[in-house]
Symmetry: C2
Amino acid sequence: MDHPFDADTAVEAAGDHLYAATITDRWNGIGIRPNGGYALVVCLQALRRSMPFPDPFAISAFFLRPTAAGPALVTTEIARVGRRVATGEARLSQNGVETVRAVATFTDLAAATGRTLVIGAPPAPSPPPGAVDPLGGASVPGITIADRFEYRMAEMPGWAKGQPSGAPSFLFWMRFKEPRDADVFALPLLVDAAFPAVMEIGELGSSTLEMTVHVRGRPAPGWLACRVATRYVVDGYHEEDFEIWDSAGRIVAQSRQLALLPPRPACVRE
Amino acid sequence: MDHPFDADTAVEAAGDHLYAATITDRWNGIGIRPNGGYALVVCLQALRRSMPFPDPFAISAFFLRPTAAGPALVTTEIARVGRRVATGEARLSQNGVETVRAVATFTDLAAATGRTLVIGAPPAPSPPPGAVDPLGGASVPGITIADRFEYRMAEMPGWAKGQPSGAPSFLFWMRFKEPRDADVFALPLLVDAAFPAVMEIGELGSSTLEMTVHVRGRPAPGWLACRVATRYVVDGYHEEDFEIWDSAGRIVAQSRQLALLPPRPACVRE
């Protein structure tokens, strides 16, 4: 039986540069709706069919409308195929309405041979002894994506104790709960599949307008160490930066998203 | 007479969602070719014609091929118009060949009213007393974009003294040399119009594959304080993060680009 990630991101050719997919309810995040990173991976699975290179590399997705569980179509187009990289576009639609537009450059990461220089130390490759599950082993009603992953932190974060720290950044480790090592196609989902940094400033979530993912390497098997941070909340909009490091201590993904905080109930308006 | 920025980014309607532009040689950067951020602004000037909102907000550009001085066409398409944001796409081509593909969400930044929380202190709003021009007042042959801006730093950087510091990050201030305050359309150029952070690790430049710009506010008049940093050079590819703060101490733009270092001559290969 296919792993849920493979089964739920699969696409089937349905015409010239046209693919059929079924969005499931097993990756629901904030708002009890399919996670944006999940919908993006479906786009990339369609795009890879026309790509001469194996690795999604630089990816930008605009989330135009919420994607819903149910059938979807993805149209793809190739903008340029070069010697080293190729770029194309994918549009996911449901009932004739576009919900996600993604542009992505693919490459062969194994063929890159230039200089390497990493500023700063990598995080620990796996959770430290005594690490805790910030969800305490519980499911979150409706948020099915939390059932697909295991999360570990050095200690319970403020938001999980009802006492947000006020500092919207943290380090954690994650991996698929149903065993499967993450690959380059899982990374664009993983960067969007954890707790928003803004939970440490008392927010319960936010809606992503745009997300850019740079896949910097093919991940080694095992835990993935993740750093997430928000620095600038301006008039309700904020960025979220996400880094993923593999168990070999190499950075494998960087992402940034621009997101909108939900309006606050009038009773707690600042 | 129009300011060079306005004259050189102007577009003229040439059909249904089709605009004509003239790329000039006054914004040449690395490689003595028109700067990517400049070509991106031409795309945005075309896209704004169909947008119900005034401010480019979340922008992603893929640089497919070098853009050259000379005539260009921009085709635009609107993906979605919502109550708060609208998203569209622009493709710049020369002689029938696409060189830049950009997707952008526009909004009305003045209408955003949510929470604001900034982590960390803003940089000084203008250059400190005794600040220096890292170019020493000289022109750089062929790099005409350096004639369009004034740059200031607290002291001469390592790369300008032929002694790269090894730390690819720095703070500087910039503004148009021919007087004009920067607006939201200038920001996507400015984030790409200064010295690459990798000059502090001995590199002379790099080629941008993809750049994402988030315009976080309308800049106040005056100097703009810029922070630029590269943290991860992996197999020849690196990200560059760029922040722009206005003279009122507010963050007005964040960008990240993924770029490729040029191959090194065999005699200095590491």
